[in-house]
Symmetry: C2
Subunit: 343 residues, 2 copies
């Protein structure tokens, strides 16, 4: 059994309450006593017993809030949120989920302000944008003592505790390498992306292009198409396929996947066109099984829902800092045989 607070109290000749005051910076303690207690605690390598602490803290339930725009990703992240809920329940943690329709950063800001007013203990945020308004809202929360963890997408230069998400450039490199192997190192490729305004997607393109240049010089990126509103994706894909008859592969950074695949199927080119895309949403699973998509790359949304809460809890509960400022989630490659969640 490790050294306890009680032992420290006895050795230092003070009460447990005083040791508690010193070690947890609450109340006033004469600097002489403080020095002595700190010295002894350090010397004995005191580390609080988390179970005892948890038991004593159970009553004062702490509230953690999760804010996330509602889309496919959210649904899977929710599984991780629920897991964290379950695991932290015993510690008196309550989790509140605020899911907003669409990527409306103004709404996120007002939720943050509301939470600041309610003095919640911590906030996990999937930002709807990376701009100075969101940044300021985050900083405001942090400054009054509410730690914020961003996930899925980051807010640059903000005071958030850390960011949990995929290394997106690297994910793009992985996608590029997969495409390179599928094409045997030669051929024509097109890129589909939903918006040039989302940093994450641009990074996925950046990594893809980088590896194509260095490792697959014989692969030609013939076009990069922004689809914005998904409805035009199908038409654009059909035109592309018709105009570039010998297209070998399509790389899709996110949303338009099913529309693009529909076009490929429509023209009966599932066999000859190789497709690499992101995420394991149900439509993608289906397309993988059908053999239309060759590889899908996952970003572990469950971990992205789980870890921010866990990190906030550990920070608040035992002052543990996150291991790094960017907690990377795994880059999962799946094909038709490994796509089933059951494994």
């Amino acid at each position: 059994m490790r050294v306890t607070l009680k032992q420290i109290a006895e050795i230092s000749g003070v009460s447990r309450a005083t040791v508690d005051r010193v070690l947890n910076n609450r109340g006033y303690v004469s600097s002489e006593v403080r020095k002595r207690v700190e010295g002894i605690a350090k010397e004995l390598g005191y580390r609080p017993n988390l179970i005892g602490k948890a038991l004593a803290c159970q009553k004062k339930s702490m509230i953690l809030a999760v804010i996330m725009p509602d889309n496919d990703f959210t649904k899977e992240a929710r599984v991780g949120v629920d897991k964290a809920c379950e695991e932290l329940k015993d510690y008196g943690v309550k989790v509140e989920v605020y899911s907003t329709k669409g990527f409306d950063f103004a709404e996120q800001i007002s939720i943050i302000n509301y939470l600041i007013g309610r003095k919640v203990s911590g906030i996990a945020l999937r930002p709807a944008a990376d701009n100075r308004f969101i940044k300021e809202a985050i900083d405001k929360a942090v400054e009054i003592g509410i730690p914020v963890v961003t996930f899925n997408s980051d807010v640059k230069n903000s005071k958030r505790l850390c960011f949990v998400g995929q290394d997106l450039v690297k994910a793009g490199r992985v996608a590029g390498n997969l495409m390179g192997k599928l094409l045997g190192g030669r051929g024509k490729v097109a890129i589909f992306t939903s918006s040039y305004e989302l940093l994450a997607l641009n990074q996925r393109i950046e990594g893809f292009k980088a590896i194509m240049e260095t490792r697959y010089p014989l692969i030609d990126i013939v076009d990069t198409i922004e689809t914005r509103d998904g409805t035009i994706a199908f038409q654009k894909a059909v035109s592309l396929l018709e105009s570039v008859g010998d297209l070998g592969g399509i790389y899709i950074t996110s949303e338009p996947t099913s529309e693009v695949c529909k076009a490929v199927k429509f023209l009966g080119k599932s066999e000859e066109i190789k497709i690499v895309c992101f995420d394991f949403y149900p439509e993608n699973v289906q397309l993988l099984k059908e053999g239309v998509i060759d590889f899908a790359i996952g970003q572990d949304p469950v971990a992205q829902g789980f870890k921010p809460l866990k990190i906030l809890f550990e920070q608040l509960f035992n002052g543990k800092q996150p291991e790094s400022e960017h907690i990377r989630t795994v880059i999962e490659i799946r094909e038709s045989e490994s796509i089933d969640m059951s494994n």
Copy 2:
């Protein structure tokens, strides 16, 4: 706050000790009282507070033992074992690791007997073999009340609580699909395996062959080579490559990976021969980066070290049964860009 044992005691008009006796089946309680208490507990949906329980149990440290033959896999599994150690330390759990040189099942049996004598609380076993002697040792432990969890490789028909490991046939299918894609669906392939006597490796071959037959009829498996002692692998690979000039790919089920790759490099065929193998050991990482290996498939050794201990703990500590009899670890696909552990 959920309903507590104390409340149940008050409502049933008995003492906490009696409720404890009823709910945890210790000591004798009149069947009348037992019925009443059980009824009330059930009605109120009583679930013990694990933190309180943990705090009270800390003193009687429980010992969990891990037995595993020492090889590359073990080194990585060890990381998971240490993680479990750390996480369970607060609950008064001590973990003892017994790592044996080589796959000597007799030695494992004597360790198991020793642990039975010492009355440890639970055993995590990576079996050195799947035979009736090991099975009997496991059953003996289980019968006197020491739960056993097997990992990495199972022992059929034994009374182990559950098995933690990869779905090996499925992993073989994944490997086959990757090879199929690398070869564009046509060509000649050879299989290297270290031993026909290890169930795991045969299952990896089984899955591979199955998918080749159904999905890639134009791919020809020209040879399956057993290398046993690794030293002959290099020579066998060289002969193969020389005799089958137009070989397209090599599938390696385990150990001989680096020797086979050496042969491929030796003959300057890294570019033309596609290689799919297992595990992310340092040599494999290097070969992936060099572009000699195309894909490596991981079995999450860290989880294989971690989960058995966690499962044993939960079973012993709060009677929680494992979710399934076979806890599958993830089938991780990695290529040169995603092979770095850092992600």
